[in-house]
């Protein structure tokens, strides 16, 4: 996966809580057997009406956020289905960072495996971001900060192991193969029990 450290972009404010993965990528688009090509289906039923025409007041259809790579939403983002097609569609659409006060567990870990940085900020901080119309920020993973164009700095926490994986874009499976002897030893122990 692509390493990630510094991302500069206008934020896309999606002012909703409990955004579930069924909304992020609807089931009719889960039949593909590839990891790519899901971007055009991101939030499909919020972006397009029954005639496939763009719904004007949905934030992803707002020209001002066309090139944004940072999505901001409210609590419990990514709840529901475990489908990794959700982060795949977010990434394929062009986002690299998602900011919210909280994330659902499986979605959070799915982001990490795909080089998407999920950032948890406080409810107040996220509300302040969501209240802005057009707001440019600089995300720095190394420093664990989000810095607004007006100089406001938001700091975030991230597990050091996860941070390292993202910064380096490491493939977790190759890493785990280094523990092959431990896995073998565990299996031998179980077989003898």
């Amino acid at each position: 996966m692509e390493p990630i450290n510094e991302i500069n972009s206008v934020i896309t404010p999606l002012n909703q809580k409990n955004v579930d993965t069924d909304q992020i990528i609807s089931k009719e688009f889960l039949k593909r057997i590839e990891r790519t090509g899901f971007g055009k289906y991101l939030f499909y039923h919020w972006r397009f009406d029954a005639n496939d025409e763009p719904i004007k007041d949905f934030v992803l259809n707002d020209e001002r956020y066309k090139d944004s790579t940072i999505l901001v939403a409210h609590d419990n983002f990514g709840c529901g289905s475990s489908r990794e097609h959700a982060p795949w569609s977010i990434l394929d659409y062009g986002f690299r960072v998602v900011i919210a006060p909280s994330f659902a567990d499986i979605f959070y870990s799915n982001c990490m495996k795909n080089g998407i940085l999920p950032i948890k900020l406080s409810v107040d901080e996220v509300e302040s971001l969501l209240s802005k119309d057009v707001y440019d920020v600089a995300v720095n993973l190394e420093a664990q900060t989000v810095t607004g164009v007006d100089g406001v700095v938001y700091s975030f926490d991230i597990d050091p192991y996860q941070k390292n994986m993202l910064l380096n874009g490491w493939d977790e499976i190759s890493l785990t193969f280094q523990y092959e002897d431990k896995i073998k030893a565990y299996e031998d122990k179980v077989a003898q029990a």
Binding site: S82, N110, K113, T176
Partner: protein
């Protein structure tokens, strides 16, 4: 020191641990289905890797399969996904219950049926309702496709130790109240993210008295409360359910296993990071009126008013949900007209669920405005139900009787609720568009859904009469 079952299972499965890292956890059972696995197998091929322990995997196809005319899948991409699983299983030596196999069914229904699901195991699947298997006292959780690939190639996962939560259900269940009502009441009381970061153990008198089928219904929906895994300590009910199943040992070996399973139960005095309680007095038959599983109320209530909510974001979510559902604030839930009924899904499509629903509809007719379907959770459930004559009861009442699969739970196949229509559903998710674009889902128990099919609107099963739900 007194330990919870969660800690006991976790500690037993640590392959490697190091300060500042998640634990490397061994996985005992990996269930696989057609939608979340193709990219994982492709990853193996690209990197020239093998499946480390095909003997610990079990695959089936459920999400995409047609529930009638199995021979001809019209949807080309769906057909591709199904044949891809077939090829992958052949190529990598993974056991598969194919679409025409007598063991085929929803992955979370067949695991327990076959006795693959056992106490003390770590179980994963690329599906969030893997939590179902926790009913047996296993740590079972959903994973993404990258993790599916990781488990296929290493039989392990890096997992940070989760916090533990006890949800205690106190008291005895009232008349007409089902396991589904317990879990819907829990989610509605504590919210859809109460379990984030936790593994939940359900305890209390009401839980102890439940059958294994009912326990599965509860653990199934742990994820709807945000908990990746939910479990129940094993007891005599667990042991008896498993006795004689295909993948459990028999004779003396079984007794030895059973003793080991029972010893896994949470020790007296063990501490949880958090405990919450709900009393059965607070639980009546439940239905959802909104667009996530926490937006539900007792059936005797009305749709809440926006002013009932304190926070702005909750007010907005409530308004948005009612607009989507086409419901008025303050309208009695029993006044909601129903035109579709779905009895199915990994939450409520086991034999006992079908029996309950059949009792409710026996000798009655589906309301003329209603389309009602029954989709048994597995081919085994279907066969057993047919042996008991339950299929006839449904057919005579005007239900359709289908082949097993996920079906209208997520509407990936042809089984779709038309836009704008209301569906009484025994499944687990009422998200926008879940049962088809524009569909309006009301989650409830099998008895309640069956009664709604007869009346053409939501009804209180306690008034409907004669049920031992």
């Amino acid at each position: 020191m007194a330990k919870t079952i969660i800690e006991k299972i976790w500690d037993e499965h640590i392959v490697y641990e190091e300060e500042g890292k998640p634990d490397l956890l061994y996985i005992d059972l990996h269930l696989i289905h057609e939608v979340t696995s193709p990219q994982a197998f492709e990853g193996l091929r690209l990197n020239n890797r093998k499946v480390r322990r095909p003997d610990l995997c079990y695959a089936t196809m459920d999400h995409n399969v047609p529930t009638r005319n199995r021979e001809q899948i019209k949807d080309v991409i769906a057909r591709k996904q199904i044949s891809t699983l077939q090829q992958n299983c052949e190529e990598f030596g993974v056991p598969l219950a194919n679409m025409d196999h007598p063991d085929q069914g929803i992955v979370h229904i067949i695991g327990p049926e076959l006795g693959l699901t056992q106490p003390g195991k770590t179980i994963v699947c690329g599906d969030s309702h893997t939590s179902t298997h926790g009913a047996f006292g296993a740590i079972a959780f959903g994973i993404g496709t990258s993790e599916v690939e990781h488990v296929l190639s290493t039989q392990t996962l890096w997992q940070a130790k989760p916090k533990t939560m006890q949800i205690k259900v106190k008291g005895e269940l009232g008349y007409g109240v089902a396991a589904k009502d317990i879990i819907l009441a829990i989610i509605s009381k504590f919210g859809i993210d109460m379990g984030t970061g936790y593994i939940v153990e359900y305890t209390g008198e009401a839980i102890r008295k439940l059958s294994m089928e009912e326990r599965m219904t509860i653990c199934n929906m742990s994820i709807e409360a945000g908990a990746r895994a939910g479990l129940i300590s094993p007891d005599a009910t667990t042991v008896e359910f498993l006795r004689g199943r295909e993948h459990v040992p028999s004779g003396e070996a079984f007794e030895k296993e059973a003793a080991r399973w029972l010893a896994l139960a949470t020790d007296e005095g063990a501490l949880y990071d958090k405990t919450v309680e709900i009393s059965t007095d607070e639980i009546e038959p439940f239905v959802t009126w909104g667009t996530n599983p926490s937006m539900g109320s007792g059936v005797s209530q009305s749709v809440p008013f926006t002013y009932d909510f304190a926070e702005t974001s909750d007010k907005q979510a409530h308004e948005k949900a009612l607009a989507y559902m086409g419901l008025e604030q303050g309208m009695p839930l029993e006044d909601i007209a129903i035109s579709n009924v779905f009895i199915g899904s990994c939450t409520n499509a086991r034999l006992s669920d079908l029996r309950t629903a059949a009792t409710v509809i026996a000798g009655r007719k589906v309301h003329p405005n209603v389309t009602a379907i029954v989709v048994p959770g597995s081919q085994t459930v279907k066969k057993q139900a047919e042996q008991e004559g339950i299929d006839k009861v449904f057919l005579e009442a005007g239900f359709e009787w289908r082949e097993s699969g996920c079906s209208m739970c997520l509407a990936m196949n042809d089984d779709i609720v038309p836009a704008g229509e209301h569906c009484a559903s025994t499944s687990n998710r009422n998200f926008e568009g879940r049962q088809g674009a524009g569909s309006r889902t009301h989650l409830m128990s099998p008895a309640m859904a069956a009664a709604a099919a007869i009346e053409g609107h939501i009804v209180d099963i306690r008034k409907f009469g004669l049920v031992n739900a």
